[in-house]
Amino acid sequence: MEHAIELRNITKTFGSVVANNNVSLSLKKGEILALLGENGSGKTTLMNMISGIYYPDSGQILVDGREVSITSPKDAFSLGIGMIHQHFKLIDIFTAAENIVLGLPGKGHLDRKKLSAEISEISARYGFELDPDKKIYDMSVSEKQTVEIIKVLYRGANILILDEPTAVLTPQEANKLFDILRNMKKDGKAIVIITHKLNEVMEISDRVAVLRKGEYIATVNTSETNPQALTNMMVGRAVSLDIERPPVRHAKDRLTVQSLNCTSSDGVKVLDNVSFTAKSGEILGIAGIAGSGQRELCEAIAGLYPIKSGSISYIPADGGKPRELVGRDPLSIRQLGVSLAFVPEDRLGMGLVAGMGMVGNMMLRSYRRGKGIFTDRRPGKKLAADVVERLEVSTPSVSTPVSRLSGGNVQKVLLGREIASEPTVIMAAYPVRGLDINSSFTIYHLLNEQKEKNAAVIYVGEDLDVLLQLCDRILVLCGGRVSGIVDARTATKEQLGLLMTQVGGSTNGGES
């Protein structure tokens, strides 16, 4: 079979960092190749060189057996290479059709009717469902992805590169995407899918290429390998893939949320009659399609989001009287004696001050304890040093701005600070997003530790496999409503996927 694309000895460095070192790879026509590797292993850099965003320092790229030089996204288009980025590159206020035709040469006047017809034709051929005249801001994540894929197909791409396409999809949507990818494969397209979800690799790919720290490790046939072998190749040593789940001991009600209703500033109902109880000594998972109210729920509990009606009551561990948290801001919640830790989704915006060092960030939670107008930096320094040591944060010094740390280290700093306050309730929103396997396991471990210390842990996650392995119970949100609370030990992924899209058929929770 002929090679659609072949990379020979590609090397790319950024300053002193070697992102790709002597990588050779080939992609056949009509196959799906999974590119597997941890964060920072150079997968995206490698693919960006094929799609014209970066230019390799050395090495050759061959398309259809001819050596080519790809210096811009335009060159890539003309060679029939299309990349679907992880972060969609779409213009919100344009329609799908306008986004698809953007930047293409052609008659000065834009013939929208003809364009729509062409798009419908592509949709029909591969099995997409898309309204060409729908605005992007009205679309769900999976619809946006569809637009991205059609965009590259419309440009005549024969080689498609998808960067973590399923990260934002429900299992059902992911299956639909895989069906489409298989249709494309039948049509002779060559497809690269970048991912670190092993079960997807096993399901969809024909071959798997593994990168580790910028080095090419090997390419294997999917049918001849298994997840454990792939992980070992990816990490470089044997890693256990099982997330431990300590048994729940003396669970007591800690936080009771009743009929919580919140409305966004645009007047959209973001939380609709949400009720649940978080118990001490257990991890309560929160699942849902992105934008189903997870962020609002966490912020409402933390006292950061306006609440229209409902109650949030905190039951102290010493058996005291329940305390109402509604109508209080984070400071007065703390003054109430409620030790609540919140690890927000936006780590460097809401969680930490990006431009300050670890010491300053540690002090954000404690500076009020000082006396007089001057701050006492010593406790902050001590805590920062503690966190560095205990959580193995790799940073040049405790005063390096946290924005310069890698994603995993940033998360450790944030979680380290929150845990230091010995919380009785800890909420973590997408704490492992963007983290590699090792860092993720550190975070799981820390959360389990808190669980064993009898804290009530609320874990908002997107990877259903992780939710099912780590949590004790899982609450599923759909369009701001609770569509179900299931026992994580017995629930299945399919069950969760259904709950995520169910409630009253409303699935358009994607806006915010």
Partner: protein, 326 residues
Amino acid sequence: MTMLNFFCAAVLASCPLLFGTLGESLTEKSGNLNLGVEGMMFMGAVAGLGGSYYYEKSAENPVAIISVLIAIGCAFLCAALGALIYSVITITFRANQNVTGLALTIFGIGFGNFVGEAMSNAAGGYVVVSDLTKTAFNTPLFPALSTIPIVGKLFFSYNFMVYLSLVCAIVLAVFLKYTRVGLNLRSVGENPATADAAGINVERYKYLATVIGGGITGLGGLYIVMNSANGVGGVWVHNCISGYGWLSVALVIFAMWNPSRAVFCAFIVGALSVMRLYISLGIPDQIYNIFPYIATVIVLIFVSLRKKRENQPPASLGLAYFREER
């Protein structure tokens, strides 16, 4: 009859605002917030006046149409030059757009007044174009039609600059809505990274939109200096632009970056600015004079309350684009 006269005066007063608004709308659609409109109007005004003046002085038998074309050309080019300076600083060197725009305004005001005064001194008192050019700028474009009762006065009694500004508005509206290049330009202002990935040359679009937009605002300045509705025309008056540029910047928001809406918005503000001459409310003149500004403030408040996504400013407005930034 008063209302008819009021309407006509309002149209005349709105013309420079419309040029300013259209030029700035085009600029902002590329994501560049150029606060130098006031300065570019000064530059256009003084260059247009100077162009006509020196043409008349050097030609034996000046021809009106050539004088007009020279004035338009000079005004456009000089204001575009101001916009080019702004573009180099903000697009190529990625300096802060607000600061650069304010600097351009200060520079333009100084440049206009300095060159204007210098020309006046050289001319021995004041620099003024001949009646030939003045008439060309101030007589109805359709003299025959303008004699039709009422309708003629309402629609056909204006000078060519008014019609030019309306044509500009229509062309711009069609360009942005129905052409590929217009779509590409809008994408640059919304999300330059996306436009870049789609193969659009972001820098080129930004440069062209900003420079051409700047040139269009210069025509507004030319209109102000040539228009004799206030009694004088075709002569350099110190500080003649006096805030029209700033009103234009506000009008862009009022019109929500939409050229066809700009026509109506400019008309309303134009009407408010000449109201005191036609409608007596028995209040001091100074209060009339602040009407356009009060209206602007009120409108800005209401516009900020509106939530429709299409009516929001271009998403990347005011931000420099740098491809390597991730």
